[in-house]
Amino acid sequence: MAEAIQIQKASAPAIPLTQRLPQTKGWKELVRDIWDDNPTFRMILAMCPTMGATNMAINGMAQGLATLIATVASSATVAALRTIIPAEVRLPAYMIIIAFWVTIVDIFLRAYLPPLSAALGPYVPLIITNCFVLGRAEAFASQNSPGLSALDALGVGLGFTMSLTLLGIVRELLGFGSLFGIQIFSGWTPWVIMIIPAGAFLLVGLYVGIVKHFSPGGQIGGGA
């Protein structure tokens, strides 16, 4: 965890893509978080839901959005409470805050979208241990205003949602021949391997390689 946070801090400066875009602080944070610090493909964080919840595009998207909401909410909360929480107990406190928000999201999903909740299984509660949620809280929200923190978390969450949806699309397309549940190829021979864990590992590995190949630089990390 400590490692992951350091990596995130270290990777912040000198990103060319950010300089070609509008230069407001919030916007910069957002873009950096979506692309250059993309939690899955560049930071290699939060791998469990990345693979566990992406066998269908809709699952990937739902998992991504759930994570996004939890991240934004907890980052904003942490930022709001940053002056109150004593430094010594900040990590446990952050975890409790995150666990609280994740519980809310989980209960919400169970109440209003039960099939989706069943499909995602324990991967929604597992958002608690997605290191980048805690990472954003520790690295950014603990030093910034709630608004900026929410924007920062939104960036990360969008990047995460994007990656998961992308993975889900490919896996569903090859695995079922459909997209968001709609059959695209008729008479498609399903590639079963894309639905089982092995396919997830291989695909994420390839994605990581491709992303790193086409935009080298930045920090590829991998911590807890």
Binding site: C48, T103, L126, G199
Partner: protein, 198 residues
């Protein structure tokens, strides 16, 4: 016999890492060197074997009777963090040799999803009994440790391999994990831990 089957199943058919994707981040991050990988593996075995029964007890004797199971996530994570702290302090005090080899990995484990994930799968999803939970905790830890140790040995052998630049490090590790998962598919259907749940 059931206990033995659960341990075996947790290692082979329901490998916590290769079939349920738990604990991949440290699996990728710490598998670069054999020594640290085996240290991390041992630490996970240790913590998982302890936290699973502890959380089982909390669920069945505190949360369920009080009817506050909606708080379970928060309680689990706090318990895990607390237990890891206790283990760390205990080790530092009484087992300094073990502490020096595992100590640096212990704080990392709190946010290792293998721990919380193991708890959620065993207690919430499959609803295992107490002894079964202990067995699953131990077996899951062993399965995770086995995977990371294999991965470390493989990556040590690939030290000088001309892997494409983009895949070096995490990329190739994920692909290796994919092939490992492919070979573990062979075990599927042998034992299913779900069958032992209530």
């Amino acid at each position: 016999m059931d206990i033995f089957l659960i341990v075996l199943g947790a290692i082979l058919t329901n490998n916590i890492l290769l079939t349920t994707f738990l604990g991949i981040c440290p699996f990728i991050g710490v598998s670069g060197e054999y020594a640290s990988a085996s240290g991390m593996g041992m630490a996970v075995i240790f913590v998982l074997t302890m936290t699973l029964p502890a959380n089982w007890l909390i669920k069945h004797f505190i949360l369920d009777p009080l009817g506050v199971s909606y708080l379970s996530l928060i309680v689990y994570i706090v318990t895990i963090a607390f237990l890891v702290q206790v283990v760390e302090m205990f080790m530092k005090r009484f087992l300094p040799a073990l502490y020096s080899s595992l100590g640096i990995f212990l704080p990392l484990i709190t946010v290792n999803c293998a721990i919380l994930g193991g708890v959620l799968f065993a207690i919430a999803t499959w609803n295992l009994g107490f002894m079964e939970s202990v067995a699953y905790g131990f077996g899951g830890g062993v399965g995770w440790a086995l995977a990371i140790i294999l991965m470390a040995a493989i990556r040590e052998r690939l030290r000088f391999a001309p892997i494409p630049e983009g895949l070096k490090g995490p990329g190739i590790a994920l692909i290796i994990a994919g092939l490992m998962a492919m070979s573990f598919v062979g075990f599927s259907g042998m034992i299913n831990i779900r069958d032992f749940g209530g």
